[in-house]
Amino acid sequence: MTLVELLSDYTIQNVVAGAALLGLVSGVLGSFAVLRQQSLLGDTMSHAALPGVCLGFIIAGTREIGSILLGALATGALAALVMLLLTRMSRLKTDAGLGITLSVFFAIGVVLLTHIQGMNNASQGGLDAFLFGQAAATLRSDLWIMGGITAVALLLVAALWKEFKLVSFDPEFATSLGLPVAWLEVLLTVMVALAVVVGLQMVGVVLMAAMIIAPAVAARQWSRCLEDMVLLAALIGVAGGVFGALISALSRGLATGPLIILSVSSVVLVSMTLAPERGFLWEAVRRVRARRRLRYQQVLTTLYRLAVHHADPDYRSEQGMLDTYHGQRTRAVLRQLMRRGLVEGRDTPSDEPGPPRRWVLTPAGIDEAERVLESLGRENA
C-alpha cells in the first residue's frame, strides 16, 4: 500500500486521527503531571480505569462507548481520591499509596473482566481489548468524544495557564497569593484522568501511563520555558501517535498501541542522549573535557612547583619524574601543553648525565600556572 492509499482508508483515517488527538492531549497534560512529579498518578489512574470499563459495560449491558468511558473516568478519579486520602490521613508515602491503589483497583478490574467473560454475553467480545488497546476498533463517533475531551482540556490549560504554571512550580506561594490551589490541582488531576480515558481504546490501560510521561520527559530535555515544553510535548505526542499508527497499518499483525508507545519512547531515548546541556552525551563530553583540563593543570602546576622548589624558572624537569609524581604517563599531556606554547622541550646540557631532553615552562606557562594556582586558592577560601 502506498501512503496515499493508506490515508484514504476509512479505518486508518480514524486510527491516525485518534492517535494524533491522544498524543496532543496527553503531551500537554503530561507536561504538568511530570513537572508536578506526579507521573505515576497517570499510571495509577489508567490501571484504575479498568474496573470502570467493566462496570460501564455491566450497567449499560452492552459495549456502549459512552457509559464505558464514563465508568473509566469515575473509577480513575476515585483511585486518585483514594490515593490522596491514603497519603493525607495515614503515614503512607506517595509511592506506596500509588502502588497500593493501582494494584487494588487493577485487581478488581481483572476480576470483573473475567466475570463478564464468563457471563457468555455475546456483546462482551473485545472488552479485554481495553487492556492493551485496540486502535482498529476506533469509530468516527469515538473520535468526536476524543476530540471534545481534547478541546475542553486544551481550552482549560490556555485559560488557566499562569495559574497552572504557578501551582506546578510553587504551590505554597500560589496559596499565599490566595489561589484555590487544591481545586486547581484537582482540575489538573481530573484532566489527566480525561486524557487516560481518551487513550483507553488506543493504547489500553497498561501502557497509557507511558503516553502521559514520555512526550513530556522528551520535551523537557529540549526546552527552556514551560511554553516550549508543552508545545513540544504536544508535537512529540502527535508525531509519535501518527507514526506508530502508520507503521502498524503498513504491516500486518502489529498492535497499534504498543507501536505508538515505542515510537514516542524512541524520541525519549534520543532526547535523553543528545539534548544539549541535559543529554547523557553532552554530560559525558563535558566530563571528559573537565578531566583533561584538570590533568593539564596538574602537570603544569607540578612543573611550576618544581621550578619554585629549585628557585630556577628555567628548571628542567625530567619526564620520569613527572610520570612518577602523577602515577601515569604524562608525555601526551606535555605534548599538548607544548603545542599551546606553555612548555617546551630543551636539550639536556651535554655535561649532565640523564635523558637527552627535559621539560621547561615558558613565560606563558608560568603565567598560566600562577593563574591556575590562584583560582584554586580562591575556590578554597
Binding site: 513537572l35 504557578l166 506546578s168 510553587d170 506561594f173 499565599s176 489561589l179 527552556r224 515544553m229
Partner: protein, 264 residues
C-alpha cells in the same frame, strides 16, 4: 468591621498547630509592631517555619487567630509578601529568572489576564534591586543558590507588600548575597514596612534585627532584641544544644550568650 489590634503589623493569639496530634506550635501569642525587622529564632524543630506558614494559611491551625494591621489575613493578602524556603521548589522547572519574579504579580493580575509589558518592566525593576538584572533570561536551574535566593526575594518585592515574611533567606548563601539581602530588608524597614524573618544564625541576630521572637514550640521570649537576646532566654530555648559546649564558659550570662552565638 472593627479592627482587632490595629496598631500591630502582625498579631497572633493562642495559635496552636498540631501534626499527627502532636503539638508543633503551642499557644503562641506573638505581636510585631509596624516598621521593624523581626527575627524568629529557635532550635531545629521549634516550629519557626510552621509559624510563618500558619500565619499565611499554608498550614491548618487547630486554634488561635491572626490579624495583620487589624484585619484577618484573608482580607490582607495583597499587603503580604512571602519568600518561601529555597528548597521548597524544584529549581529544574523550565523557566527563567524574570518569569519567576513575574509570578509575584499573579495575585494582582487576577484570573484570565496574562502578564504583559507593564508586569515585565516591574519584574525587571525588582531584579535590578537585587542585582540580578543580567540574569533575567537565565534558566533558574543554572543559577547558584545565592542567585536563586535573590530571585525569590525579587518575587516578593514586586508584591509591593506592607508585611514581608521570609523563611530562612540567608540559609546556604554566600556572604555577598547575605549582605545584599540584609541591605534590601533594611531599606524596606526604613520605608516603614515590616519584615519578619525566620533566621538560623544566632551570631548575626543582634546586628541585623531590631525585634526578636525566641521560639521552641512555645514562645520563650519576644520583644526588642536588646531586651530579649539574653543568655537565660537562649538557654531556655536551646537548652542541651548549648550545654554541649565547654561548661567553663557558663559562668557568666554574657559568656553563655557568646557560646550560643558560636553554636549558632
Amino acid at each position: 468591621m472593627t479592627l482587632h489590634e490595629p496598631d500591630l503589623a502582625l498579631h497572633v493569639e493562642d495559635l496552636t498547630v498540631s501534626y499527627h496530634s502532636k503539638p508543633v506550635l503551642w499557644d503562641i501569642d506573638f505581636d510585631v509592631p509596624p516598621g521593624v525587622m523581626a527575627a524568629i529564632v529557635g532550635p531545629n524543630g521549634a516550629g519557626k517555619s510552621t509559624l510563618i506558614k500558619s500565619v499565611l494559611g499554608l498550614v491548618p491551625t487547630v486554634a488561635g487567630h491572626v490579624t495583620l494591621h487589624g484585619r484577618p489575613y484573608k482580607a490582607q493578602r495583597r499587603r503580604v509578601g512571602y519568600v518561601p524556603q529555597r528548597s521548597s521548589v524544584d529549581w529544574d522547572f523550565p523557566t527563567t529568572a524574570l518569569d519567576v519574579v513575574t509570578m509575584g504579580l499573579y495575585g494582582r493580575l487576577g484570573w484570565l489576564r496574562r502578564p504583559g509589558r507593564r508586569e515585565r518592566d516591574e519584574a525587571m525593576a525588582a531584579l535590578e534591586l537585587v542585582g540580578m538584572q543580567d540574569f533575567a533570561k537565565r534558566q533558574i536551574s543554572q543559577l547558584s543558590g545565592g542567585q536563586q535566593q535573590r530571585v525569590f526575594l525579587a518575587r516578593a518585592l514586586v508584591q509591593k507588600a506592607d508585611v514581608y515574611f521570609l523563611d530562612e533567606p540567608m540559609a546556604g548563601v554566600d556572604a555577598t548575597t547575605e549582605r545584599a539581602i540584609v541591605d534590601i530588608l533594611r531599606r524596606l524597614r526604613d520605608e516603614g514596612k515590616t519584615v519578619i524573618v525566620v533566621h538560623h544564625d544566632l551570631q548575626t541576630v543582634r546586628s541585623y534585627f531590631d525585634w526578636l521572637l525566641i521560639l521552641n514550640v512555645r514562645v520563650i521570649a519576644q520583644g526588642p532584641v536588646a531586651e530579649v537576646y539574653t543568655a537565660d532566654h537562649l538557654r531556655k530555648a536551646y537548652g542541651g544544644q548549648i550545654a554541649l559546649l565547654d561548661q567553663g564558659t557558663f559562668l557568666s550570662g554574657e559568656a553563655v550568650a557568646e557560646a550560643a552565638e558560636r553554636a549558632g
